[in-house]
Subunit: 536 residues, 2 copies
């Protein structure tokens, strides 16, 4: 019997994920991803292909000492080479050398692939599958059999596709995983394929491995689970070959929250946003802000009507509680937003502020004027909090830029970079004593030079600023019609290693716009260290 209350998750970030364009993992990166996935609590981590990549073998040697709490490792490889005995196949030998509890073997189920890509006859392919699985079972491994191109094969030649899967099952495979390798299959075809395998032999523990080339990987995995699959493969962030694999960060919340299935140890779902970001960080990919469940904007509400609705009834515009996946709600302060959203944000500074508080009304007017000038606070919570403090009359700047000069010259002289800047700041300490400081810096372009000089001047007074670095820098020309005299909006994301915050600046002068966003960023860091604003 198939147990339908628990779904076994196999994460292949380190194997199929590593086939995504631009993804390159060092051994150290792989160990970091493994630890994150183990903390999350997936059942299996498919960690590499030791037969095709020597770096992977090094990883498996090191990984055995990690002491994983939840996950088991598996190595990935193919059926034996045509015409070779399993015992003589070096690739299979490497798989055993990896020393993992599980081994994933992929084999061909599409007759066209057998004939034209593998170039063996249909019977030899069946023998390759059966002998490989039997060999690994005999060596005491748990064998997960990936039926590559199963759905395409089933559409082309159903009897052959089913016979390839039966060969693996009869040889003792512990899991039979139906793969939509090219990602072109629709959910209705997935259901048909899964049912056909079930009808041909009900004993198997079935799994699904979907790709996102049609934008349907999550839907296909759900359709397979609804049809009885209990093993699901994917990558946490979703990256992988071409359009990527099933994004487990979207799939797991769907299965746990909407279908009451258990994929992770109890309590761990609330860590999925954090751990998905950590894996993305290691892979050096950006999680798109609108990624389901875990994206930065997944629970952002911009339309005033939506913000107002949420405050009346939470589920009115939210399909789940963001806390369930460790994400947070976010109201965008914008021209389409309303006073409810403004008050909700302002509460972070002063909890007594309501929709009808006079400060809310004053802020609404101020925002409208600022937005007409091109400001946008929806991506700049930290600047908004400083604005609220100002409106409440509580803001005393912690420093002031007295003057600065930024120069760009081409060609550069022999002794100075093309861009350089100096800044003079005025700082008044708690006791009222004040001091001036001047600092200079060179940079990659004028904005970077100003940034470096300003930090250098202030670090003498606020040594903690040394920990702050900028994570992202965005420039938007607000009305291109004015061309090089157009106003620009600069958005900066900063971090001190513990948390991130966003600030904004607007001016016709990109240096002035950057200056405003940089000053807000530094002030926010200092204020939140003093616990005068929220902690990001």
């Amino acid at each position: 019997m198939i147990d339908n209350t628990n779904i076994e998750i196999l994460d292949t970030t380190l194997r199929d994920g590593a086939q995504g364009e631009g993804i390159v993992f060092s051994v150290r990166d792989k160990l970091g991803v493994t630890e994150a996935l183990d903390e999350l609590g997936v059942a299996w981590i498919e960690a590499g292909n030791p037969g095709s990549n020597p770096k992977d073998l090094e990883f498996f040697r090191t990984a055995s000492s990690l002491g994983l709490k939840n996950a088991k490792l598996c190595a990935f490889g193919s059926t034996r080479k045509k015409g070779l005995k399993t015992a003589d196949d070096n690739q299979l030998r490497s798989l055993l050398d990896a020393g993992t509890e599980g081994v994933v073997i992929f084999g061909k189920s599409w007759d066209m692939h057998v004939r034209e890509v593998l170039r063996v006859d249909l019977e030899e392919n069946i023998a390759m599958i059966a002998e490989t699985v039997a060999f690994l079972k005999n060596e005491g491994r748990l064998v997960i059999y990936d039926a590559e191109h199963f759905f395409d094969g089933f559409a082309a030649n159903p009897a052959y596709a089913l016979s390839s899967v039966k060969a693996a099952a009869d040889a003792g495979a512990d899991r039979i995983v139906l793969c939509d390798t090219n990602g072109g299959t629709f959910p209705d075809a997935v259901i048909t394929g899964v049912k056909a395998v079930q009808n041909s032999d009900g004993r198997k523990i079935l799994g699904i491995h979907a790709h996102n080339d049609s934008g349907l990987a999550v839907a296909n995995s759900i359709a397979a689970v609804q049809s009885g699959c209990v093993h699901v493969q994917g990558t946490l962030v979703g990256f992988g070959e071409r359009c990527g694999n099933t994004a487990l960060a979207a799939l797991i919340p769907n299965l746990e929250l909407k279908m009451a299935l258990r994929c992770l140890p109890e309590g761990n779902l609330a860590r999925i946003s954090e751990l998905t970001r950590r894996v993305a960080e290691i892979a050096n990919v950006t999680i798109s802000d609108d990624m389901p469940y875990v994206g930065a904007h997944a629970f952002s509400h911009k339309a005033g009507m939506h913000a107002d609705g949420i405050l009346k009834v939470q589920r009115s515009f939210e399909h789940i509680d963001p806390k369930a996946v460790g994400n947070g709600r976010h109201f965008l302060v914008s021209e389409v937003g309303g006073r409810s959203a403004i008050a909700e944000m302002a509460k972070k500074v002063e909890p007594t502020i309501t929709k009808d508080h006079p400060v809310t009304a004053a802020l609404a007017v101020k925002l409208k004027n600022l937005e007409a000038d091109g400001w946008a606070f929806e991506g700049a919570d930290a600047s908004f909090e400083i604005l609220v403090r100002r409106e409440l009359g509580r803001h005393k700047p912690l420093f002031r830029i007295v003057a600065y000069r930024v120069m760009s010259e081409h060609p550069s002289g022999d002794t100075l970079a093309c861009s350089h800047a100096w800044v003079k700041v005025f700082v008044e300490d708690q006791a009222g004593a004040h001091q001036y400081e001047i600092a200079a810096a060179e940079g990659e372009g004028p904005v970077n030079a100003l940034d470096c000089a300003l930090r250098r001047a202030l670090t003498r007074f606020y040594p903690d600023l040394a920990k702050v670095r900028l994570e992202d820098y965005k420039v938007r020309v607000i009305d291109g019609k004015e061309a090089t005299a157009a106003r620009v909006r600069v958005l900066i994301e900063s971090t001190d290693g513990r948390r991130s915050w966003n600030t904004v600046g607007v001016s016709a002068d990109i240096i002035e716009a950057s200056r405003a966003a940089l000053v807000d960023s530094i002030e926010y860091k200092l204020l939140s260290d003093m616990e005068l604003v929220s902690s990001g």
Copy 2:
């Protein structure tokens, strides 16, 4: 009868898309998006909410002069205010003032929303729906009725949800669109909901509006179409409130290539990659590389095995032919359409260039390297033509910047603007005589100061430059992670009153990037006056 071979597409990039975090459209942006969508050939463009946003009304006034070939415009609004007569409702008045052929009206179908968010009784909500639809029909509009939260409402109180839809249909609504407003519905529930509406009244032309909060927007739209919906709403790129709307760039190829349904005029599907990128460029959002069908990596093959398979049999690892959607197998921009596309562009400079010309091969290599450094010539034809001239050994620069210096200082002195620049140029005339010129200018920000100084220096030699002005200026940070030291790409659109042309520059220094794009822009103008390049 519902005609199931053609699917009516409504794109709401300019309305629901504009509710995405970080999306801010100027009126000019909106006109650009409208033209792109019309070129693609969607049936309807939902272009704004004139009742809640005065900027939208300005757009509708301008848009009526666009002369759209394929698409019709519609304005979006809500049912009448509670307790008000339709004729006295200003919001409905604004909808009519927009002067569009179609009007989209959303109304409540979830009883909880009616009671707790709208705070009216259930009967009044029905009256609001019926009267609003009847009022607009009476004014001669085609009415598309969006049943907000239909699936959540149907799950909570099926009879009420169906009665709300019936009210709209009985009042004459031309389309009934079932919305998964919160994005939490699964495909099986979509099918159940669509069938229930069909069973309660088979006459309606049904549509679907899905959100991607569960990663299922494309799947839900397909399930709805498979159940008989013939109208689909979404946004081309997929952005929108929270996790976005159904990405039409993924959905339309699924419907046309996999289900043999017609969504666009014949031949237009092959332009969907290009036009999706254009809309993303206007919205200043990045299309994720792994986006189905249109992403840069959608047909990239990293695993050696896959590449090998593809060379043997194309469909072995590709679910469709990338050309069908105007994408390419490796897709660095240079290879979008492969060498044929490069040759096609190069012909503007030298008509004898073919796909097999050595210059085409040399350009392909050059483009690949430039693109790896962040250059993009898709939006910069004029820079590309200058590149071709250089590759042909025919480019002799008409001027050279010997040196420049740009300064920004705050506060400014009494006698000089905050930003000022000087530029020294070298110009060699047709007869070989050469001259230097130096000029200075103040500006709104450093880039504008440089731009003004450069034009001033050159106008002495090329008086026609006085007619040139910049129409648009865009900045894109290429890798935000490097923060203020990140590389930026500057795109400039220039005009001399008769035609427009686009140029590009890339550098870690925004002033250098702007300088490169400005120099190309001026050279292109001078060359085309001399009829050495195409005339834009």
